[in-house]
């Protein structure tokens, strides 16, 4: 069996599980961390799909800049989702 397909299935499942955790979590800081884990799984997917240009921009944005921007935002509002 093709190793790439197995890895693609594995990392998309990881991404899916952490998507669920990120959406259902009420603690926004935890949700951001789950979202960053999901993004890391997607970065691996993009690498496996042979898109290294996207990986290079996706990694710093999805793991560094986007969680940082959201954390600053949460710091200015409330830590727990009131909905």
């Amino acid at each position: 069996m093709d190793v790439t397909l197995v890895l693609l299935a594995l990392f998309s499942t990881v991404g899916l599980v952490f998507t669920y955790l990120a959406i259902s979590e009420r603690d926004l800081v935890r949700a951001i961390i789950y979202s960053a884990v999901q993004s890391s799984a997607y970065a691996v997917l993009l690498y496996l799909l042979r898109a290294p240009d996207i990986v290079l921009v996706y990694l710093p944005v999805a793991v560094g800049l986007y969680p940082a921007a959201l954390l600053f935002l949460v710091g200015k509002t409330e830590k727990v989702d009131g909905g």
């Binding site: 669920y20 990986v55 290079l56 940082a68």
Partner: protein
């Protein structure tokens, strides 16, 4: 209840996407052979035999992004530029008030980050100047360098920006230098055309059928691919310091800068 709704919506989305992309064929024909458009772009990206059509860059993505559809990337840069201007407009006056404060994280985190930052800068510069040879380019390098601004703000606190000699006005100047450099590269063929009277096109990188104008493709035997290396380096400056501005402004303490942010409206009410 909340969990059920989330689970059902995720399951429905995945099922819909899976159906659309497999049975319904939303992605079009997915054969194993390369499509005609991709074959053409791969053949033209680096092809010294087709001087009028090639971008002279072995990195097909950079060849497409800054040459074949260069104007598109130019306007993406403009969109990013507008977003930074909006952030600067909202936070006008706030950097002068200060609001850095904070002591950052522990000594261990600080020492590790101090070791990581030079590596981060080296990787970012390497992605920028090799953007026409290997995967990467201006935006990728800019995003990589922008991580340094996040590390400085989170690990060393917002006041660390002034310690390393970067403030908002310097970052704006460096970002503007990048944008001006892009404009210079774009308008150089126009200047050439108006001086010599020969035909040249805006953003032209290499010779065309009816135009002999070309940026140097090699310098000291090193391939620099005409405009591509200059546009990548300029975009690197514009994007990285654009992100620096955003994170410098975001890391200011809300309680300290709030008076500066709402000050004008309050002032106008009383006067």
């Amino acid at each position: 209840m909340r969990r059920v709704v989330v689970l059902v919506s995720i399951a429905v989305s995945v099922a819909l996407l899976a159906y659309a992309t497999s049975v319904a064929g939303a992605l079009g024909y997915l054969g194993l052979e390369t499509r005609a458009l991709a074959r053409m772009l791969l053949a033209l990206a680096y092809n010294p035999g087709l001087r009028e059509l090639t971008a002279m860059s072995p990195e097909a993505v950079t060849a497409i992004v800054w040459d074949f559809r260069g104007v598109d990337t130019l306007y993406e840069t403009v969109v990013f530029y507008m977003a930074i201007i909006a952030a600067l407009a909202i936070y006008r006056g706030a950097p002068k008030v200060g609001g850095g404060g904070g002591i950052g994280l522990s000594l261990i985190a600080k020492v590790v980050t101090k070791l990581l930052i030079p590596m981060n800068i080296a990787v970012a510069v390497s992605i920028a100047v090799h953007g026409h040879l290997t995967p990467g380019g201006g935006f990728q390098a800019g995003a990589a360098l922008a991580v340094v601004s996040v590390l400085l703000a989170v690990v060393f606190s917002a006041s660390s920006f002034s310690k390393v000699g970067v403030d908002v006005s310097k970052a704006v100047a460096l970002r503007s230098a990048g944008l001006v450099a892009i404009a210079v590269v774009v308008f150089t063929p126009l200047i050439y055309s108006s001086v010599t009277g020969a035909q040249a096109y805006l953003m032209q990188s290499y010779v065309k059928v009816d135009s002999g104008f070309a940026f140097p493709v090699e310098v000291f035997g090193q391939l620099i691919s005409g405009t591509l290396i200059w546009l990548n380096v300029a975009e690197f400056l514009a994007v990285s310091f654009g992100f620096f501005i955003i994170f410098m402004l975001l890391s200011l303490r809300e309680d300290v800068v709030r008076s500066a942010l709402v000050g004008e409206e309050h002032g106008s009410q009383h006067s």
